[in-house]
């Protein structure tokens, strides 16, 4: 069940939640989107492709409560240190191997 599609779905939910919170709040509502269009009252879709969208894709922050948090997992309350072997590091190694063999 918890495959890549599920993880992306949960990530999208998180990003939508964060962007919606940002688009609602604040007194300064004008926003220039990536198409260089000035929008008076931006909605969620107006933030797609902006730096906010990419920034909000992360699930960790500098704060201690989320710094070592496990991503969208049932065990997310159990902290663990990310300096071990994890998906991100495995992916870097995998891409390096692909490049060495001329597959990428």
């Amino acid at each position: 069940m918890r495959n890549r599609a599920w993880r992306r779905y949960k990530e999208d939910l998180k990003v939508i939640h964060r962007i919606a919170r940002m688009s609602r709040g604040g007194w300064w509502r004008r926003h220039r989107d990536v198409n260089n269009i000035l929008i008076q009252e931006p909605m969620i879709k107006d933030f797609i492709g902006t730096s906010f969208n990419f920034m909000y894709k992360t699930y960790t922050t500098d704060r201690s409560d989320s710094k070592y948090k496990c991503k969208y997992s049932p065990n997310k309350n159990r902290n663990y240190y990310r300096d071990g072997d994890n998906r991100e590091k495995q992916r870097v190694v995998f891409l390096k191997i692909l490049k060495q063999n001329g597959l990428r």
């Binding site: 999208d12 939508i16 962007i19 990536v34 198409n35 260089n36 269009i37 969620i44 879709k45 492709g49």
Partner: protein, 174 residues
């Protein structure tokens, strides 16, 4: 002519709602519509890969098509040729489209020239071109550490834009 032909895959992200072909990325974003038997694609910088795929698909269909600004998906916005011209130029200055169209073998400037010929709005080009060249393409700031000007756009794009006005005039003659 049917927008259902342009649903590119079975992922469920593509859909037809009303007069628009939509792509879902967080929310449904309009990608294409048909007016007077002409396909109009939204040149949307939010979804560059999907726009390029759609362009490829429309090229395969062999029909007449042009691009337009995503602002026109909003029925509140009045149609103005200035908006479309500036958006054509702005989108072409983005690296995703500049290199992407080159990769799929599509000449955006030629398409742009044909659209201007159709709408008879060549007199609006010079003003918009100068504006985009100054405000977007040649936008820079001075780095006091290295004593150099740092440009937002890459060198390839700046060089292309410096001769683009002449290219459009040549395309118009041909």
């Amino acid at each position: 002519m049917d927008l259902d032909n342009l649903i590119l895959d079975n992922t469920g992200n593509w859909s037809v709602k009303g007069n628009f072909l939509m792509y879902k990325k967080l929310q449904n974003i309009p990608m294409c519509f048909i007016e007077d038997d002409i396909y109009y694609l939204f040149l949307d910088v939010r979804l560059p890969n999907q726009v390029l795929k759609l362009t490829k698909a429309v090229m395969k269909l062999g029909v007449e098509f042009y691009f337009t600004t995503p602002e026109y998906s909003n029925p509140k916005v009045e149609i103005d040729d200035n908006l479309v011209i500036s958006h054509y130029l702005f989108a072409y200055s983005r690296p995703q489209f500049f290199y992407g169209f080159d990769k799929i073998g599509f000449d955006l400037i030629r398409n742009f020239t044909h659209w201007m010929e159709k709408e008879k709005c060549f007199h609006l080009l010079k003003e918009n071109y100068d504006s985009i060249l100054k405000k977007v393409v040649n936008r820079n700031w001075y780095d006091y550490y290295s004593n150099t000007h740092i440009y937002d756009c890459e060198l390839d794009i700046r060089e292309e834009f410096s001769v683009m006005y002449r290219d459009i005039q040549i395309n118009r003659i041909i």
